[in-house]
Structures are given as C-alpha cells and as structure tokens.
C-alpha cells in the first residue's frame, strides 16, 4: 500500500501521560498491533507549567511560568515515569523504541498539531491514544488532544476508551 513498506519496519506512535490509561495504550499496542521489527515511539507532552490560568468556561487563557528549577524537576519526573512504566517493559520485550518528551504550549490545538506532525514525520502506521470520557484538570491537555488528532491526523488513529 505505502511505498517502501515492504522492506522497512513500521513506526507506531503512542501518546502517554501519567494516568493509568497510558498503560492500557501500551498494553494494547504490544498485544494487538505490534509486529516483529516495529519501532514504538513514545510521545509525552508536559504541561507548559503547573499553574494554568483558565477562563470560566474552562478554556486556557495563559500560564504562569515555572522557574527553571521546577521545570527541570518536572522534566526529570517525566523521564522517570516513562522509564519505569514503559522503557523497562520495552527493553524486556526487546522492542526498539524512541522516547520524545516535549514541553507543551499554551494552546491545546498546537499540542494536537504536534502529535499529528510527529505522526506524519515518522510515517506512523497508527497513533494510539486514550480518550477519557470525563476530563479532569490533570487530563485537560490530553483529552482534547485526542479529539484534535481524530479530526486532523493524516495517519490512522486508534482510540482506546479509558475511564
């Protein structure tokens, strides 16, 4: 179907966060989608800061920037949980992988656009994401990212439902 698919491996893009749903995303990929030789790409977007300014209708108005120290800690924490929950499993299963941790922007849509661009950049065979039926502040970013990706991504999107 796609040029060059015959000889090369496939790339699968997973979007993860700290919620348990990311484990489901991971397990489903490994169990149902993965084929020998595929490369798993883990994409994690860090919230731009820990303090967000929201409008009354829960739109994002702005961020109060964290200081450098906090930023570093947040990034280290992200690397840590990804290492614990995903990298170890990938290594055990001998699955080639790549991890990208990106600091998100204020605008939700551009995080979605980021995911879509990454998917296109690696020519992902699928983008695996979780959808929460109830958004919480913590999952504020990821929920609408899944929505955006479903609408705009040029690669197939696999949506898992996690509550």
């Amino acid at each position: 179907m796609s040029e060059g698919a015959a000889n090369s491996h496939r790339n699968i893009l997973l979007t993860v966060d700290e919620s348990p749903s990311s484990d489901k995303v991971f397990e489903y990929t490994v169990k149902n989608l993965y084929r020998q030789g595929d490369v798993v790409h883990i994409l994690h977007v860090i919230a731009p800061s820990r303090r967000l300014v929201v409008t009354p209708d829960m739109g994002l108005e702005g961020v109060i920037e964290d200081d450098e120290e906090t930023k570093r800690k947040v990034e280290e924490h992200a690397q840590e949980f990804i290492r614990e929950r995903f990298e170890k499993r990938l290594e055990t299963l001998r699955i080639p992988y790549q991890v990208d941790i990106v600091r998100g922007c204020v605008d939700n849509d551009s995080i979605g656009a980021l995911v879509c661009r990454r998917a296109e950049g690696i020519d992902a065979v699928a983008v695996v994401m979780a959808k929460h039926s109830r958004g919480t502040i913590k999952e504020f970013f990821i929920g609408s990212v899944t929505n955006y990706a479903c609408h705009h991504c040029k690669q197939p999107v696999l949506v898992l439902h996690c509550d």
């Binding site: 179907m1 698919a5 496939r10 489903y28 149902n32 989608l33 860090i46 930023k71 990034e75 990208d100 941790i101 990106v102 600091r103 922007c105 551009s110 656009a113 980021l114 661009r117 990454r118 296109e120 950049g121 065979v125 699928a126 959808k131 039926s133 479903c150 609408h151 705009h152 991504c153 040029k154 690669q155 197939p156 999107v157 696999l158 949506v159 898992l160 439902h161």
Partner: protein
C-alpha cells in the same frame, strides 16, 4: 506462532474511503487466524434517498421491496470492494448487513453493539462517510463511535478530495507540488513551535 482467535470488525459502505480502511486493517492489523467481520448498516433514510420520497415514517409494508434491493446492493458492493480484494490466504470474512430502524446516528450504535456481541478487538472505520464537504471534521458515525464505544476505534483518515482549502489541511496521498507545500508549512509551524518550546526538539 499461535494462531490468534481475535475478531476484527470493519465497518463498510460503498465508498473508496471504506475500502481504504479495510485495506489498512488487512495490511496492518490482521494476524493469521483472525476472523474478519464486515458490517454494513442500512439506515432507514437510505430508502428515502434512493427512491426520492420525503423521509417521513413509512408504512412498514411498503418498505419491504426497497429494503430487499438495498440489501442486494449491499451484498454486491461488499463482494466487489472487499471480499474480492482479500488475499486468498486470509479466510473469508463474515458479512453482516444490518437494517437500522432510525437515522444515521444509530448506525454507530449498531456498530458498537455488534462489536460488543462479537467481542471484537476493535472497530475499523473510515473517518468520513459522506466526504469532507458534508461532514467537516469527522463523519457522524465515526464521531458517535469515538464517543460511545467501549471498544477501541481505529479511524482511517479520508484523504481530501481535489477541493482542499488553501491551508493545505488535507490528507496527503498526493505527491509532488502539494506535498512540498505542506512540508514547507509544517516546517514553518515547527520553527514557530521551537521558538516557544524550551525542550530539545526532536530530529
């Protein structure tokens, strides 16, 4: 390798986009031993559209013949578009042609129910049914399933038709000039992105 016993549910209609979704599933999701189920839902409004009558409630008796012909048409396109395109190594798919009592939205409901019934590992569908002109972001059936299904949904995007907007927001299967333009736009966006971001950009 053990033969799998998974069920793959693929929602089909008489369109190239649906065929694309089907081929994606066969190429990328299928494993030896999987059972493919093709599900086509005939919404009641289809009768109205076909026969040029207003979509008001019909007397059930009058619908029988139009329903029968809708089913026959469905059988035909399923054979032409899907069953014939299947490699011989893959065992024949199970075909479900289901009549839905109401309008388009419950096509999604029927799909979700069928997936639960079959214990499918996921529902594969095209992003759009009626094309991007009619349904801009996401087709109504796909939208419904994405929100309501308990099982994984795999959305295979519909490439834009030739009437893509100037922003280039389209599904690039095209080569050459259009792809280059999109790449330039992507790069521009990426550059803007990098200026705002503090983490190391990926290559």
């Amino acid at each position: 390798m053990e033969a799998s016993d998974r069920v793959l549910l693929i929602a089909v209609d008489d369109s190239e986009d649906s065929q694309k979704a089907f081929m994606w599933a066969v190429d990328n999701l299928y494993r030896e031993g999987d059972q493919i189920h093709l599900v086509h839902v005939v919404p009641r409004l289809a009768f109205a559209a076909q026969y040029g009558v207003p979509p008001v409630d019909f007397v059930p008796a009058a619908e029988n013949s139009s329903y029968e012909s809708a089913v026959q048409r469905a059988e035909q396109f399923i054979i032409d578009r899907f069953v014939r395109a299947l490699p011989v190594t893959i065992k024949s798919p199970v075909v479900h042609i289901i009549k839905s009592e109401v309008d388009t939205e419950s096509v999604g409901h029927v799909l979700c129910k069928k997936a639960d019934e079959l214990d499918a590992i996921g529902i594969v569908m095209a992003s759009h049914n009626k094309g991007r002109m009619a349904e801009f972001f996401l087709g109504s059936v796909t939208q419904y399933c994405t929100h309501h299904s308990k099982r994984p949904i795999i959305i295979v995007p519909t490439p834009n038709s030739s009437s893509s907007s100037s922003k280039g927001g389209g599904g690039g299967v095209s080569k050459g000039a259009i792809r280059n333009r999109e790449q330039q736009q992507c790069q521009q966006q990426q550059q803007q992105q990098r200026r705002r971001r503090s983490s190391t950009p990926f290559a």
